[in-house]
Structure formats: C-alpha cells, structure tokens
Subunit: 205 residues, 2 copies
DNA sequence: ACCTGAACACCGTTCAAGT
DNA sequence: ACCTGAACACCGTTCAAGT
C-alpha cells in the first residue's frame, strides 16, 4: 500500500480530468482532486505533465479538438513517434466519400458533436488552438472539399475559417444559453445548427 | 491613512479587473491583486460583490457583452432602477437608420469589435449569457432587420442565432489562432470576418 | 455604509526522498 | 522511471471589528 504503481498515463489523466470538468466545471478541477480521482498523490501528475496545469490544459484542449489517444502527446517533445495514432477512433468526418457538401456537412456535425460532448472544457479553447496531425489533416480535407466546390485562391482559407468559426460559435452559443428557461431543446438546437450551416454553405459557394 | 474611502464602485472594480485580465490573463486575476490595483484591501470587493468572484465574473461578462456603465448592475437585485443607464456610451449598431443588411452588418462589426477589445475575458462568455436590457434590445433589433429582409416564423430566431454564433465564433477563432506564426494580420482578419458574414447573410435571406 | 485585518481551508508547485 | 510527503507562497472567503 506504500508504493503505488497506478499505471498513470497522459491519456488516463486527461480522461479523468474531463470527468471532473463534466461533473464540477472547469473551476472544480484541481490537481489534488484529480490525484484523488486517479488514486494517486497530486504530485504524481507532474511526472507526466512536468510543466504543470497549463500543460495539462493544453493537452485537454488537444484531446477535445482531436479525437484519438495520441492527441495529448503533442506537448511531449519525446513522444512524436506516436503521432500517427491520432487516426484512431476517428468519428465520421470529411474523410468519407461523397459529394463535397455532404463531406463538409458530415465534418461539421462530427466537430460540433465532439465540442458538445466536452462542453465543460469549451473555455479552454478560447485561447488555445493546438495543432495536432488530426486537426491539420481535417483542415486540409475541408479546404479540399471547398476547392471541389469551385473556390480558389484566398477564398478557400476564408471559407474554411468561416466554417470553423460558425461551428465553434454555434456550440458556444448553445452552451451559454442552455440553462435559460426558454432555451431550445436538443432537437431544435440541432435544427438551428443545420439551418445556419446550410445558409453559410449556400452563401460561400 | 487608516480609514480608506476609496470610492469603490461596481463599475470601477469591473474596469480594473478587465485591465488585469488584459495584462496578465484571466488566470492572473485574483481578488487580492484586484484589491491592490484598486488600492484597497481585497475584502472590500465583497461589499460590492457579496457573492464573490463568481458574481464578479458574471458582471464582467455582462459588461463585455453590453456596453454602458449600468450593465454590471443586473446582478444586484436592489439596483434594477438603473437599468435604463445601459443605453449610455453605445457603439454604432443595429439601431442606426438604413437598409436592413447595412444595419445587421453595422451591428455585427460593433459586436465583434467589443468582443475583440476584451478578448482576454472571452472564456467567461463560454458559460455565461447575461441578459441585460441592452442585449435584449439589440437582439430585437437584429430580429426586426431579419423580418424586413423577408424572414418569417421560426426562421427569424434561427437566422439571428446563426448570426450571433458566427460573430462570437469568428472572434474566438481569431483569438485562439492569433499567436501562430502564420496567423492573418489585423486587416486580413477583418476581411475574413466580412467575407463569412456576407456569405452567411446571403445564404440566410 | 464601507472598509480593515486576522483567520481558515484550499490551491499550484518545488524539492528531497523513497522504491 | 514513477510516485510520495512535507513544505512554501498564494488563493477565495468568513467573520468580527473598526469608523
């Protein structure tokens, strides 16, 4: 009972942190509480995130925006070889076959669903945009689809930015209003997201 | 020197808090540091925000989204009579005369400018949507303009949500990427915002 | 009404030490 | 390599007290 080989890992820590965030909010996440949840002393976390809580926040942001166990490893300069692991467990997205607009819509719905799943960590994304292999690849797929739609030159980047802005903004908008008494239910929230997405896509191309 | 009539007020506290947030980030804002900046003991702040830091955060969120000195007073149940003060110092917005699309564009640019001005407090907005008289009136103006554009029924609310989502998302997107080496400069960021806004408006109506 | 000052529980992080 | 435990500076908040 003295020595504790808890089998701690960056991913276990991130997932447990997201549990705490989901249950008690971002402000409820402390290193000590995280240690308790992992059945480990708080200081053990520093062995996996030597730069402390800020580095953990970065890793959580990367995990939320980039599905797959390898995502959090980006912060670790000596773990680059596991980058291709970011392809694991990928939800349906822009990589599916089909016409360009269906691919963009599928990506947008998957991106939104993931942000909604970890909505407690949304405020971490306000000042963090971790560049993971997954995020770069996905962005390239979105821009490729926009190229197929006929966009050229700087319009491709501008349109992609507009789509990312809308998706992220729609989730933030939904979350920040969802405890109001006249807030839309889940079905109506979905409908509003699609309504705006269709309009934006129609205006973009 | 013993007694200290610092002339503390909710608005002074909010403005000083925003200075600290701008300089050291949201994590750098502590009640003790805020007290120092106001030349007052930290505990004096609790006289104006009896519910503590959470209430201060709410007031900051209201101040950022609703210009005017009266904005922060919404949290104070015994200060409702000052609500009409929220009209003070209003930036150009949807209330100007002109065609509906010019009014919406003016509102969107002003909304974005204000969010950008207080970008350090953006993450406070992820889980807070304070309903101020100003925010309700502005929303009504946006929906009115969309009605003039020909939208009817539930489309008005859905289109307004899409516009709010896009504006907020565009600012978050810009801020979270702005320390990357290949980030757009201010002029290009403005251009991208307008590009997406025009597209969304075109698709909406 | 408005502010002070001591106190308490909690926090992030460092560091030396254990295995 | 991986984790512990004590320590330090700092934090939010309560409470009794001052004017």
């Amino acid at each position: 009972m003295s020595r504790n080989y808890a089998g701690l890992s960056r991913e276990r820590i991130i997932i447990e942190a997201l549990h705490i965030i989901a249950g008690r909010g971002l402000g409820g996440l402390s290193m000590r509480r995280l240690g308790d949840a992992l059945e480990v002393e708080a200081m053990a976390i520093y062995h996996h995130f030597p730069l402390g809580k800020e580095q953990l926040f970065n890793a959580i942001a990367a995990y939320v925006t980039s599905p797959g166990p390898g995502a959090g490893a980006l912060d670790d300069p000596e773990a680059r070889e596991s980058e291709q692991a970011a392809e694991d467990g990928e939800p349906a997205g822009a990589s599916e076959p089909g016409p360009w607009d269906a691919r963009i819509t599928a990506w947008a719905e998957a991106y939104r669903a993931r942000l909604l799943e970890f909505s407690g960590a949304l405020s971490l994304l306000a000042h963090r945009a971790p560049r993971t292999p997954h995020s770069l690849a996905t962005r390239a797929l979105v821009e490729g689809a926009l190229g197929e739609a006929g966009l050229t030159g700087p319009d491709v980047e501008r349109a992609a930015d507009a789509l990312y802005s809308y998706c992220l903004g729609a989730v933030v908008h939904q979350v920040r209003h969802q405890q109001e008494e006249d807030a839309p239910d889940a079905a109506e929230a979905d409908a509003r997201f699609r309504y705006g997405l269709r309009a934006l896509l129609a205006g973009l191309v």
